[in-house]
Chain length 128, copies 4
């Protein structure tokens, strides 16, 4: 089990700052989880737009103005994601560690020793 004592520190600061920004402008009433899931999607759309015509190799070399723009879109995603977690009272980092645990069990290391197999090429004997 992940030790929860240390989680939600840098994200906690961010959450608090952003929540103050939102409540100062009376926006919390508009920030239902439904609406926030839409805002999150719109930001992800802006993020993916930066990569749509790039080759895989180019995508690793993004820099300068483009990298700044990418960082800004990723920031927006993080802001809306933590905002949404706040409205739903979900501990995002704890949930992420729980997901890591499930993934660690689901994709046993031994099956991926050949060096190229991707997640979707994994045969789950049961269902999945």
């Amino acid at each position: 089990m992940y030790d929860k004592r240390h989680i939600m520190d840098s994200l906690k600061d961010l959450n608090e700052r952003h929540l103050k920004f939102v409540t100062d402008r009376n926006w919390q009433q508009h920030q239902s989880p439904k609406n926030l899931s839409m805002a999150l999607t719109a930001e992800v759309g802006e993020l993916i737009e930066h990569f749509q015509w790039l080759t895989v190799e180019e995508s690793w070399k993004v820099n300068g103005k483009k990298k700044e723009a990418v960082a800004e879109e990723m920031a927006d995603v993080l802001i809306y994601l933590t905002r949404m977690a706040g409205e739903l009272d979900i501990d995002l980092v704890a949930a992420a560690h729980e997901k890591c645990e499930r993934n660690e069990r689901k994709y046993p290391v031994e099956e991926f020793q050949d060096g190229y197999k991707r997640p979707h090429e994994h045969k789950d004997k049961d269902k999945y």
Copy 2:
């Protein structure tokens, strides 16, 4: 300016754990920023699906099994977002604070005192 000393702690743990999971399975080669932006989008799609037919009010009351499923999708978004930040060497929390600063300037508190105006109803005199 945001003091960077305290950032990237809970997220740092998560990043390290997930990166180990990925490298143990030889998956880093597939995790270009381009591909990760797609994986991120797919997870956001799964998240929004939970809210598409709900009313705004119902979306605030999500609980039980549905809340767990929502938390899992949000965890996936966080995992891919931090993974992508890692590949691009972007400090996600610092970028989020910089974005908060820009937003705080862009949407002056005084303009939103009436109690209902939403972000898109804000008239930016210049460009925007």
Copy 3:
């Protein structure tokens, strides 16, 4: 079975026009299904942005400049969707009719006589 004789007419015109636009600019090389799925996502992100802070009721009353902007984003989605179908040699309208058939069987009319039940409130006895 859906009679395929009449399908792909208005969409056929659109496809041909857009494909000429693309090939005239040497862009087909960049328009892999992978890249097109990203472009499609980016356009859907722009579309959803118009609706994120609207109430459900407001979303039905979109008009004027906003309606024009919405129509343009929807047009972009259709253009990339048909372009992607072209690259993959998929008959989009036939696929849609096949999906309609599956949906008609999957959600029996009798189960939705009560007047409010939504798709996700449907109990599929078997799998689903």
Copy 4:
């Protein structure tokens, strides 16, 4: 100008069939443009998932079961897109032709004779 006489035929059939399916189940009340934009996004998320770990080259060679699954997701996108156009009284094909016209003017053929330049590498002198 595009001649509107011939548009909305194959899509018209599809629209009518799907609208009947929806009204027979009392679902139109849930299908606001807001909700439909979310459903559209969720389907695009399922579509992009099929391509996220593929190379660009693999994405062109999708076939068999995977191609069928891709076709089904694309069908879902088309169904929700036309459904949304119906709720908003937008002529989707006409809007797409108008967009084609704007694109044809915006990206002059002469600028793309070198054989590799992509849309985002186009310098628009004015705004954009």
